[in-house]
């Protein structure tokens, strides 16, 4: 079974540019989460999809961040325009709750560097 995949693995952009991160969850997982780790700090929740619906976007920093999950499959997270403080590692996770036992399966992350 394929795991959670994320693309790209690394992205280096200039301040003010736009970047789109993609996450492909494990097939059949309805729940998809985005998290971010900034500068060696704790990993923080950004938002949660159930299928194509946003269940909780309380962790989104501001309106420069836009997440979508068209058709309830893969998800994209767009940052426009990017700022220096957006640098960090963005993780995506998927789960099947509660049947799957609540653990979330994480992708390898996208390391975003804003210069």
């Amino acid at each position: 079974e394929a795991g959670v995949t994320q693309f790209p693995s690394h992205s280096v952009i200039e301040k003010g540019q736009t970047v789109t991160l993609r996450c492909d969850p494990i097939s059949g997982h309805d729940n998809l989460y985005w998290y971010r780790r900034v500068m060696g700090k704790e990993i923080k929740f950004l938002l949660h999809f159930v299928k194509e619906s946003k269940q909780d976007e309380s962790g989104m920093p501001n309106n420069r961040f836009l997440a979508e999950r068209t058709g309830g499959t893969y998800s994209t997270l767009k940052v426009q325009p990017a700022e220096l403080e957006d640098s960090g590692v963005y993780f995506c996770a998927s789960s099947q709750e509660p049947a799957g036992g609540y653990e979330q399966f994480f992708g390898p992350g996208t390391r975003l560097t804003v210069l």
Partner: protein, 115 residues
């Protein structure tokens, strides 16, 4: 406030010795607790969880964790450390506020096992 604390940024242990990585939590209601490990250039990998039942939970790679409700702790343990256990370990608790199962993470503990 709901939170997770990992008081040690780094734990050093000699190969073959027992290891403990500490975690305490603060959450309302019954905690769902998780340990994840991140190897270099890899994503977060699920190790084990406590949802209910026996306070001693066994997980992958010989790791175990003990849930202690009175001390609000969920320390990760292994009887005999391997050099290959060297990695970054994250403790997490399910946020009981709201309707989603988003996770609250600690800042991570770097485990260094010396040969």
């Amino acid at each position: 406030a709901q939170s997770v604390a990992q008081p040690e940024d780094q734990v050093n242990v000699a190969e073959g010795n027992p290891l403990t990585v500490k975690c305490t939590y603060s959450v309302s209601g019954n905690p769902y607790l998780f340990w994840y490990v991140q190897y270099p250039n890899r994503g977060l990998q699920f190790l084990l969880k406590y949802i209910t039942g026996d306070n001693l939970v066994k997980g992958s790679y010989g790791f175990e964790a003990e849930f202690n409700k009175s001390q609000t702790s969920f320390h990760l343990k292994k009887p005999s450390a391997l050099v290959s256990d060297s990695a970054l370990y994250f403790c997490a608790v399910r946020d009981t506020r709201g309707a989603t199962n988003k996770l609250i993470f600690g800042t991570g503990t770097l485990l260094a096992v010396q040969p």
